[in-house]
Symmetry: C2
Subunit: 353 residues, 2 copies
DNA sequence: CTTAGCAGTCATACCCAAGGAGTGCCAAAC
DNA sequence: GTTTGGCACTCCTTGGGTATGACTGCTAAG
């Protein structure tokens, strides 16, 4: 790859048109097609010269000598960053998104799962969602419920709803009053706290003060750990079968590699969570990664649009769309943003205040 | 299709061998292959004659004149019902299944989801599970939890764990005591009842007796409805990408049709729920449906193994494996049965008594 | 009833030539 | 200097024709 001189206006327009045409047709685009379909005011020979220079600059690639050109990662990158016309959501899409959230669940896990279904349906690609970390939710309530002398249930409620629930089998009998006393103590001393600020030591202290047994203390501690869900992040993906429709994935080997990748919760999480980790989380702006920018070789023919969502001023999660590099970037960015906004609004609405 | 005479011993053996060979190789099997690989004690010409008769009987099919034979639906059916040697789970598989359930979740939805992952992994096919209907669970506890003057949470616990939880926003202020009184009344009068036996009228009566408001009565009623989950059945499926490995699905059109079918919760549910509806639910025995027996045209090249599972003497759900007709029936039946048994045991273990 | 032999069928693989899409380059025109 | 028409060249794709080989079904002999 030589140096990348600034593109003059005509080169930029030709590059944009090549990308646009290729996104729509999935066929390498040649100089004659370009001259005929878009009136550039110059002949195909001129376009050929320009395309040759764009190829030398690393923006375009020729699959073989006698074929048209296809955008390279750098070509797509330039298109996305500087050339493509931004898109707004249509009224129709906006309404559809809003309607779907209107009847959406209040339960966090269900919500993100439904969101991926919506987004994969609208985008025609694979949609992924990461649930917001529960660390930043506010503690609302804990209730130890007496079921029988040896069994109880513990429920922890945060501002996002039920964060943990578990059944506990005691080694020794407990009385309903013991549970009520402990519940009350915890509630009065933890009310309004952010989950991540509740330490195990504090829990122990409260349990000790209200005369709870060691067994009860352990139960409380582990239920809180579960409520913060530090181990397994909420992750949902759907719409993988959409990828079958893309001509670039008609090669079964590629497709299989991609699906195996997506199947692994861990790798999928890492892929999308980059967005969470990034220091400057572009304030709600969608972010595009193209081909090799993604890292894993399996995804070298894919692109991913990610967009963070938030509700209130905390709890940030990520939505993502994974598809072929030849994706309608502007539209998918608009869709992802719109969905992220509606998702945030929905979570805000159902938040427990 | 002519009449189906009883198969003599040699025809039966040849049919069994053809099915076996085809299942292993995915190639139409010819008379010479058969004579060479399995010592039938007769020449290929004799086998040819027998195969011609098996084809006339509708057990075998020739893809084209100069190809070997492939089993028909009826051929597979006969193989499964009468010819194939039954298989036991290997110690290794048994252990693996048990280990996975040992560390499985206690939450019903998670359990069936994890079960499909396990079963698709072991079987190399698509696995499906339907959660048991919640109607037959025993009511354990209801708790109305005071969060603030205008918000409460209701949790309904059945013998299978938390069956419903919801946040309620009241139109008028409520006091913690009101909620406690109503919770106690419901618990004392409903304790031990089966969920489906709790009628809306009874709930109304109890609410009225304990002086609950109309608003509270409605909340209780709708939470119970949700707990019985009459609307949306718990359904999980995973391992669709396994189907990519099967040579019969390398035709993208077929594959897409199948995946679209599987994607639809409703159709998938209907497919598997046949097993629940059937009058004589073969007492835990796996049940095989082959090709057109399944009904939908999209699945005419697929087979499904279903097996009911139960815990205690109630609550029946279904596990299923969907794959190409050319599947190792005996092994998959053993796997499905073993997994169903372990699943039942696990649900039994985590049941609240 | 079994079997060897053989003719016949048909999918598949292969080669080769024609077709076509598209390029790069050059020389002339602007 | 840029643009353009022309043209040779490359190389993928397509289609036809042929050879190959894996089968079968049939027949006649064992």
């Amino acid at each position: 790859m030589i140096d990348k001189p600034e593109l003059d206006k005509r080169k930029a327009f030709i590059l944009a048109t090549v990308v646009y045409e290729y996104i729509n047709t999935a066929e390498p685009v040649g100089s004659v097609t370009l001259a005929q379909k878009y009136n550039l005011g110059v002949s195909s020979a001129t376009i050929r010269n320009e395309m040759a220079e764009l190829e030398a600059g690393g923006y375009l690639v020729q699959p073989h000598t006698s074929a048209g050109r296809v955008p390279s990662d750098a070509g797509y990158r330039t298109y996305v960053d500087r050339l493509m016309p931004p898109e707004q959501l249509t009224k129709d899409d906006t309404r559809r998104i809003r309607d779907r959230f209107r009847e959406a669940s209040r339960e966090l896990g269900d919500v993100i799962e439904q969101t991926t279904r919506l987004l994969s349906g609208l985008s025609g690609n694979l949609a992924i969602a990461i649930a917001p970390s529960r660390d930043t939710h506010a503690f609302k309530h804990i209730q130890l419920i007496w079921l029988s002398a040896r069994t109880s249930m513990v429920v922890v409620v945060t501002s996002a709803g039920v964060a943990a629930q578990r059944v506990i089998e005691w080694q020794t009998d407990v009385a309903p009053d013991d549970l009520t006393r402990l519940s009350n103590a915890l509630n009065s001393r933890l009310g309004g706290r952010i989950m991540q600020d509740v330490t195990a030591n504090q829990l122990d202290a409260i349990c000790a003060d209200s005369g709870a047994s060691a067994e009860m203390r352990d139960a409380v501690r582990s239920t809180f750990a579960q409520a913060r869900q530090t181990d397994e992040p909420g992750l949902a993906a759907s719409g993988a079968q959409n990828l079958l429709d893309q001509p670039e994935f008609h090669d079964l080997r590629k497709l299989r590699a991609i699906l195996r990748f997506v199947e692994e919760q861990r790798t999928l999480y890492d892929l999308v969570a980059d967005e969470l980790a990034s220091d400057a989380p572009h304030k709600g702006q969608p972010h595009v990664r193209i081909g090799h920018e993604l890292g894993p070789d399996e995804l070298s023919e894919c692109s991913v649009v990610t967009v963070p969502y938030s509700f209130g001023d905390r709890g940030v999660g990520v939505l993502a769309i994974l598809g072929p590099r030849r994706m309608p970037y502007a539209r998918l960015m608009a869709l992802a943003s719109g969905t992220a906004r509606s998702l945030g609004d929905h979570l805000n609405d159902v938040e427990i205040r």
